[in-house]
């Protein structure tokens, strides 16, 4: 995308009927590190790539528990994601207090989408720069939704967002038809395979990824590192050592807020500019 005279304000349409600020917000999601989600009839799994900025710092939290039956994985501006998670938790708790019943995921997702839409129609606001994969359980089974900065939301059998998510999506597209009947463990295995796709050759260990599950009879919980590593070893999916260790180090030194996934690509473009 290139700069143009219609992209300064979110309240300015382009002649082609586009809101560029909203589209730029969706770019921010693409720059974040990968998050994937998939579901069967009874379970939903979220997994994400967790890269720390340096060996000295901790990983950024990208998966949040919203309620016993709902969890969310984010990609993009993690600060925006935290604020939206807090909103979701608040809504769930208020509903639970009034009705003593869990807030149906479908309704929470609509409320979230309406909240995002407001930011696309106020001159003094900016769109949220975060994409959310909401996994939850309600009376009709497990659900996975994707909430966009544009205020749109979609329901998915499986989806991936963030940098190099296309690789994961390709893998998921091959396997998704089997997901509705999958067992909980098979679903987690597929999630880890999909994460491995986004790492593009780098070794998959539990220190670079986070996995969370929610299902019938199982409250939303983030699996601990040891469990994840055991699953990785069991499924023998660590893959070979990454030859692209150089690019990995560069990304490690990248910016905090929206972890740059496109650093490698930009290196190639720059010389041609001259």
């Amino acid at each position: 995308m290139f700069r143009n005279q219609y992209d300064t304000d979110v309240t300015t349409w382009s002649p082609a009927g586009r809101l560029f600020q909203v589209e730029y917000a969706m770019e921010a999601v693409k720059q974040g590190s990968a998050a994937i989600g998939l579901r069967s009839k009874t379970h939903a799994v979220l997994a994400c790539v967790n890269k720390a900025n340096s060996e000295l710092s901790s990983h950024q939290r990208k998966i949040f528990k919203v309620d016993d039956h709902i969890g969310v994985a984010i990609a993009g501006l993690t600060a925006d994601g935290r604020v939206l998670s807090r909103y979701m938790r608040s809504e769930c708790i208020n509903y639970g207090y009034t009705y003593e019943a869990p807030l149906p995921v479908g309704r929470l997702v609509v409320q979230l989408a309406d909240k995002a839409q407001v930011c696309t129609q106020r001159s003094w606001k900016r769109p949220y720069g975060v994409g959310l994969l909401v996994a939850g359980l309600d009376e009709s089974g497990a659900h996975l939704y994707y909430n966009c900065p544009s205020g749109n939301y979609f329901e998915y059998q499986a989806f991936a967002i963030g940098s190099r998510s296309q690789a994961a999506k390709t893998y998921l597209e091959r396997k998704f038809e089997s997901f509705p009947g999958s067992s909980r463990d098979d679903l987690i295995k597929d999630a880890l395979f999909a994460i491995r796709e986004t790492l593009q050759g780098e070794k998959l260990t539990s220190s670079v990824c986070t996995v969370a599950v929610v299902g019938v009879g199982e409250a939303f919980n983030i699996l601990d590192q040891a469990t994840v590593q055991a699953l990785i070893n069991e499924f023998e999916i660590s893959g070979e050592e990454a030859p692209a260790t150089a690019s990995v180090a560069e990304e490690g030194a990248g910016d905090a807020a929206a972890d740059q996934g496109g650093a490698a690509a930009e290196e190639e473009v720059a010389p041609m500019d001259i």
Partner: protein
């Protein structure tokens, strides 16, 4: 520029202040519910094999006068629930308005989810407790029952927000006259006929002993399939007890 206020602005400001004052003073003068006027008496609810059965008479008393004899005190709420009320009839109508709005918004989501009896019960508990905290209660005892996804639910809320769930519920005089019968005779897996028989026994007892009861009752049934409310009917009563034949025999001053 400074503090120049035009004549027009000044008058707007003063009327605005006057409005504010009347709002504040009228709030101070507003009445709160001190006592009920038109009241309904007991409601009884029980769980049975297929769902919930609820019974109430159709009387609306104005103090000691039985003024209204066709008051429907059991109503449907959404797809899955029934509500029965004793106490102030006008407050019950107000509650029905709240519930109507609640169900309307629930339906407007149009997403296949719907509020069940448990959710309605808890919502009403919040409402009743909230009003009680403002010293302006809705003067009712409510019974909420229903079936959703195979789960039977029966609960009650009082005017001060006391709420609980049970296999059989009664309000008002029913607490004293009907519950002992229910404790003895209620079982899991009652058939419809058995349930009605138990309810009729309770209602008859209330008819004999509760002065605000009228002999015109309705029994409502709610199951997974839906709700039916019976047509109003009367219970058979028996008054030919020996002690009633010659009541003044042996009394002081009689002959």
């Amino acid at each position: 520029m400074g503090n120049v206020i035009t004549l027009m602005e000044e008058s707007v400001l003063s009327t605005h202040k006057a409005e504010m004052d009347t709002l504040l003073t009228s709030k101070g003068d507003s009445q709160r519910t001190q006592y009920p006027y038109v009241t309904g008496t007991s409601v009884i609810g029980i769980k049975y094999k297929d769902g919930i059965l609820m019974a109430a008479d159709m009387g609306g008393s104005y103090g000691s006068t039985i003024r209204y004899k066709s008051v429907e005190r059991i109503k449907q709420v959404g797809k899955h629930s029934l509500i029965g009320a004793s106490g102030e009839i006008s407050d019950f109508q107000e509650i029905l308005k709240y519930l109507d709005e609640l169900i309307l918004h629930d339906n407007m989501w149009d997403d296949g989810n719907s509020l069940g009896p448990k959710e309605v019960h808890n919502y009403l508990t919040r409402v009743m407790y909230n009003r009680r905290n403002k010293f302006d209660p809705l003067w009712n005892s409510l019974v909420i029952g229903g079936v959703k996804n195979g789960h039977k639910y029966l609960g009650s809320v009082s005017m001060i927000g006391v709420n609980f769930e049970d296999d059989h519920i009664a309000t008002g005089f029913g607490n004293h006259l009907a519950r002992p019968i229910l404790r003895e005779e209620w079982r899991e897996d009652l058939s419809f006929e058995e349930g009605v028989k138990i309810l009729e026994k309770c209602m008859r007892n209330l008819l004999y002993r509760d002065r605000s009861a009228v002999n015109k009752i309705q029994i409502a049934k709610i199951t997974e399939e839906g709700l039916t409310v019976s047509q109003p009917y009367s219970l058979k009563t028996f008054w030919n007890f020996a002690a009633f034949q010659n009541p003044t025999v042996g009394a002081e001053g009689s002959w």
